[in-house]
C-alpha cells in the first residue's frame, strides 16, 4: 500500500519544494509508492474543507510528514503541532526547518526595530503606523521546528540536495531511519590541501580564487589556504552531487562555482559551535581569526535559531 505523505511549508522561500521537483524523472517512479494527501504548493486540499465549511483545521493523517521553513507566527506553530499530531514520522526539510535558516538572521534584532525600519525608515514608503488591523503579531524570533515539536529526521541544506530526499524517503519506505553521516564539507572536497595558508590576511570575496578549469580538481588549492574564509571545516557534508559537475566527481556546490562555503548545511553534529570551531580552524593554518569581517552574522548565517543569534545588549555610552 502506498505510503501517505503530508507536506507543509512555514517560514519559507520555496526552494526546498523546488528541490523535491529537482529529483527529476525518478520522482514519477517514487510517486507510485507515495500518496500525497496534503501539499499546498501543488495540491488543492484545504484546511477547513473544500468549501471552507468546517470549523477545525484539518490535515489528513499520514505516515510521513515533511515540514520546510522555520516558525515565525502563531499560525505556523499551530500547523507544526497539527503536522506532528497527524504524522507518524516527521521530517524537517532544509536549514530553515532544521536551524532557522537565513531568515533567523532577524534574531539579531528586536522585532520592533524591524517594524521601525520597514514602515518608518524606507526611502520609498509613505511613513505609517505598523499595520495592526486583523493581522497576526509575529513571534519575537524565528524558531527551528524542533523548538516547537519533536523532529524525527533532519535533512538540512539551503536548499537541501534532491539525492538526500530520495535517500531519506527510500529508507523510510524500507522501514529504516535516515541520518546524515557526521562528515565535513572538507571531507568530500577534492581541492588540494597543504595544511597551511599562503599568507596571513583573510581575503573577502572581492577578487577571484585561483583555479584552473583545464586541470583536475586536485590541482586547485584549497580556498581557505588561499586566504578566503570557507566554512567547509565546520559544515556538514551532503551538498555535493556528481550530476552537477558533469565530470563524475563529487564537488561541494559552491566550490564548483569557485566560491567558498558559507555553511548552509549547518553544524556537523548536534551541539557543535561552528563559530568557535571555525576560529580554531582559521588559526590552525596560520591565518588571523580576528580579521573575519562581520564574524558573528557570517558564521551563523544559516543557524540563527536555537538561541545562536540574539540581539546584542546596547553598548554603554562613553
Amino acid at each position: 500500500m502506498a505510503v501517505k505523505v503530508a507536506e507543509e511549508w512555514l517560514n519559507i522561500c520555496g526552494g526546498c519544494e523546488v528541490t523535491i521537483l529537482d529529483i527529476g524523472e525518478p520522482l514519477l517512479d517514487l510517486l507510485g509508492e507515495l500518496n500525497f494527501v496534503h501539499m499546498p504548493v501543488l495540491m488543492d486540499h484545504k484546511y477547513f474543507g473544500q468549501m471552507g465549511e468546517k470549523d477545525e483545521m484539518e490535515i489528513p493523517e499520514a505516515d510521513v510528514g515533511i515540514i520546510s521553513g522555520g516558525v515565525r507566527t502563531e499560525k505556523e506553530r499551530k500547523v507544526a503541532e497539527l503536522m506532528r499530531k497527524q504524522c507518524k514520522t516527521l521530517i524537517a526539510l532544509g536549514s530553515c526547518a532544521c536551524y532557522g535558516g537565513i531568515p533567523a538572521m532577524a534574531n539579531m534584532f528586536p522585532l520592533e526595530a524591524m517594524y521601525e525600519k520597514v514602515y518608518r525608515g524606507s526611502k520609498t514608503t509613505d511613513s505609517a503606523e505598523t499595520p495592526n488591523e486583523n493581522l497576526p503579531p509575529l513571534l519575537e524570533k524565528v524558531l527551528a521546528v524542533d523548538e516547537v515539536v519533536k523532529v524525527d529526521v533532519y535533512i538540512p541544506g539551503c536548499p537541501t540536495n534532491p539525492d538526500l530526499i530520495v535517500k531519506a524517503i527510500t529508507a523510510l519506505l524500507e522501514g529504516k531511519t535516515f541520518k546524515l553521516e557526521e562528515r565535513s564539507v572538507c571531507d568530500e572536497c577534492p581541492l588540494k590541501r597543504e595544511k597551511k595558508a599562503s599568507g596571513g590576511q583573510i581575503k573577502r570575496t572581492l577578487e577571484s580564487v585561483e583555479f584552473d578549469q583545464s586541470q583536475p580538481w586536485e590541482n586547485t588549492r584549497c580556498f581557505m589556504e588561499q586566504g578566503f574564509l570557507c566554512l567547509g571545516p565546520v559544515t556538514l557534508a551532503g551538498c555535493g552531487n556528481k550530476e552537477g559537475n558533469g565530470d563524475g566527481v563529487t564537488v561541494p556546490r559552491c566550490i564548483k562555482g569557485n566560491m567558498p562555503c558559507r555553511g548552509c548545511f549547518g553544524p556537523i553534529r548536534k551541539g557543535a559551535n561552528p563559530l568557535v570551531d571555525m576560529m580554531s580552524a582559521i588559526s590552525s593554518i596560520g591565518l588571523d581569526a580576528k580579521q573575519v569581517p562581520d564574524r558573528r552574522a557570517l558564521l551563523n548565517r544559516y543557524i540563527g535559531a536555537q538561541n545562536r543569534l540574539r540581539p546584542l545588549p546596547a553598548r554603554p555610552s562613553r
Partner: protein, 480 residues
C-alpha cells in the same frame, strides 16, 4: 450573512487565504486581500559586507533566486563602480534565461496549468500536476523532465541552481568550459522544442476553451511597468523602465531614479505595501475608478515592449496583439504571455550558447570597497525587481531598500480577486469550481508571496475580507 473561506490558497508560492463574506442577498459587498506576515531582509542585511549580499538575498525566494542574485550582483557593480567583462555579463544573462524557462514551466504546468488542463471544476484531488501525470503520462513526463533540464543546466553552469553563488561583484566567478557548453547545447535544444510544443499545445487545446472565462474573470483596468532597451525591445536583464498608462501612453526612466516615480503606500490591514505610480495621483483600488495602479510580470512586459529580439517570440507577440490588443487588460492572459516568454527565453539560451564570448575566461574584475549608493534591477519572472543599497567606506551595508515583483502587483491582485468574486458569486450560489475560479485570478499573477514579504520575517498569508458598502468589516477570519 455568510462567510466563505478558501484556505490555504493553493498552487502558489506562499500562504494565502481568501475569506468571502456575502450580504443577506448572497452577493459580495466588498473584499480585501490581507497579507498577514512579513520578512526582515531590509533590516538584517544592514551591517553585512555588500559582496556577501548576492548570497543572502537569494533566500528571499527559492523559486526565483536567480533574479535576486542577479539584481544584487548588478547593485554590487554599481556600488563598486565596475562593469563586468562581456563573458561575465553574458553568463549572468544565460543563467537568467535558463532560470526563466524553468520557472515558467513550473508555473504554467505545476501551478496554474492544472486548472486549464484538468478543468477549473474538476475534482480537487486530481486538479494538480500528479493528476496531469496520471491522465496524460506522456505530457507529465515531458513537463517534469523539461523543468528539471533547466535546473541541471544551471548546476552545470554554476554549481548551484537554487540559491546560486556565481554572480559576484564585478562579474561571474566561474567561466564556462567548452566541454560544459557542449553538454548544454542538446539540453537547450530540447527545452526550445518543449517551449514550441507548450505554445502550440495550449493554443490548440487549452486557451480556446477558456476564452469566455478569460474575458470575464479578474479583468481590471490598470497601467503596466516593464523593462526595455533603448529601441523598445523587451530586456529581462538590463534596460530602462517603461511605465505605461491604461491608455497606452508611456514614460521612461532609469531605475537609478525609481524613487521619483514609485511610491509605497501602507494600509493598516496588510503587512504588504502597495506600490503606486507617484506621478499619477493618489492610489485608489476602486474597481470602477482605479488610480495610480500599475501591474508587472509577463502580461505587463509584453504590453510595454515594442518587440522581442527573437523570431519565434516576436511572431507570437504579433499574433497575441492581433487577438487581444495593446495594452491587454485580461488578467488570465498572464498565462499566455508567460508561455510567449518561455519561448523567448528558450530561444535566448540557444543564442547565448552560440555566442563566441560565452566561453571566455575573462568573466570578472576585482573590486575595492568604498562608500557609495547603487541601484540594480532585473525583470524577475514575477515582475520588476529593484535593489537599492548604500555602503560605508569598508563596503558594509548602511541602508537597503527592495521592491519586488509581486509587491508591485499587490493592489492589482486585490482588485482582480474582488472583481472575480463579485462576478462569479451571485445570490448566494457557488460551488468548489467557482471558488477555484476565484483562486485562478490570483494564480494568474504567479504571486511569490515569499518575495513579497521580504520586509520582515515569516511566511505569508493572504486573506480576502469582505466589507459592507459603508466600509465596515462584516466578518474576518484570520489565518494564524
Amino acid at each position: 450573512m455568510k462567510t466563505i473561506t478558501i484556505y490555504p490558497v493553493t498552487r502558489l508560492e506562499g500562504h494565502a487565504k481568501i475569506t468571502i463574506n456575502l450580504d443577506d442577498a448572497g452577493n459580495v459587498a466588498d473584499t480585501f486581500v490581507n497579507v498577514v506576515e512579513l520578512r526582515g531582509f531590509e533590516k538584517f542585511c544592514i551591517g553585512r559586507p555588500v559582496e556577501e549580499l548576492p548570497r543572502i538575498v537569494t533566500s528571499i525566494c527559492g523559486v526565483c533566486p536567480w533574479s535576486h542574485h542577479l539584481a544584487s550582483a548588478k547593485t554590487n557593480d554599481a556600488i563598486f563602480g565596475v562593469t563586468p567583462p562581456p563573458a561575465g555579463r553574458k553568463l549572468r544573462e544565460l543563467c537568467n534565461a535558463v532560470a526563466y524557462t524553468e520557472e515558467h514551466i513550473l508555473h504554467f504546468f505545476f501551478l496554474a496549468g492544472p486548472d486549464y488542463v484538468m478543468g477549473p471544476d474538476s475534482d480537487y484531488s486530481v486538479r494538480n500536476v500528479i493528476g496531469i501525470a496520471q491522465a496524460n503520462p506522456e505530457l507529465g513526463k515531458k513537463v517534469v523532465r523539461n523543468r528539471h533540464l533547466g535546473a541541471q543546466m544551471l548546476n552545470i553552469i554554476s554549481g548551484k541552481s537554487i540559491h546560486p553563488v556565481t554572480a559576484v561583484a564585478g562579474g561571474f566567478s566561474k567561466p564556462l568550459t567548452e566541454a560544459e557548453r557542449q553538454k548544454l547545447i542538446p539540453m537547450a535544444k530540447e527545452v526550445l522544442e518543449f517551449a514550441k510544443f507548450a505554445m502550440s499545445f495550449t493554443k490548440e487545446n487549452i486557451f480556446p476553451k477558456y476564452l469566455e472565462t478569460v474575458k470575464t474573470v479578474g479583468v481590471i483596468n490598470t497601467g503596466f511597468l516593464g523593462t526595455v532597451t533603448d529601441d523598445g525591445t523587451l530586456d529581462l536583464y538590463d534596460g530602462k523602465a517603461r511605465l505605461m498608462k491604461p491608455d497606452g501612453s508611456y514614460e521612461e526612466f532609469e531605475y537609478a531614479d525609481y524613487t521619483d516615480h514609485i511610491g509605497e503606500h501602507v494600509e493598516p490591514w496588510s503587512y504588504m505595501k502597495f506600490p503606486y505610480a507617484k506621478n499619477w495621483g493618489k492610489i485608489s483600488m476602486d474597481l470602477d475608478n482605479p488610480s495610480a495602479i500599475y501591474r508587472t510580470n509577463s502580461l505587463a512586459r509584453i504590453n510595454v515592449c515594442d518587440k522581442f529580439s527573437t523570431p519565434l517570440a516576436q511572431a507570437e507577440l504579433e499574433e497575441f496583439r492581433e487577438k487581444f490588443g495593446r495594452p491587454c487588460q485580461l488578467t488570465l492572459l498572464y498565462n499566455w504571455a508567460r508561455l510567449i516568454e518561455l519561448l523567448y527565453n528558450a530561444e535566448k539560451v540557444n543564442e547565448l550558447l552560440e555566442d563566441p564570448d560565452i566561453t571566455s575566461k575573462e568573466t570578472r574584475v576585482p573590486v575595492t570597497p568604498r562608500a557609495a549608493r547603487g541601484v540594480g534591477s532585473v525583470e524577475a519572472p514575477r515582475g520588476t525587481l529593484i535593489h537599492d543599497y548604500e555602503t560605508d567606506e569598508n563596503g558594509l551595508i548602511t541602508d537597503i531598500n527592495l521592491i519586488v515583483g509581486t509587491t508591485h502587483n499587490n493592489a492589482p491582485i486585490n482588485m482582480s480577486v474582488k472583481q472575480a468574486a463579485k462576478t462569479l458569486i451571485k445570490d448566494g450560489k457557488y460551488d468548489q469550481g467557482i471558488l477555484n475560479t476565484v483562486e485562478m485570478a490570483i494564480r494568474a499573477y504567479d504571486p511569490c508571496l515569499s518575495c513579497a514579504t521580504h520586509k520582515l520575517d515569516g511566511s505569508i498569508a493572504v486573506k480576502l475580507e469582505i466589507r459592507d458598502s459603508g466600509g465596515k468589516v462584516i466578518d474576518t477570519i484570520a489565518n494564524w
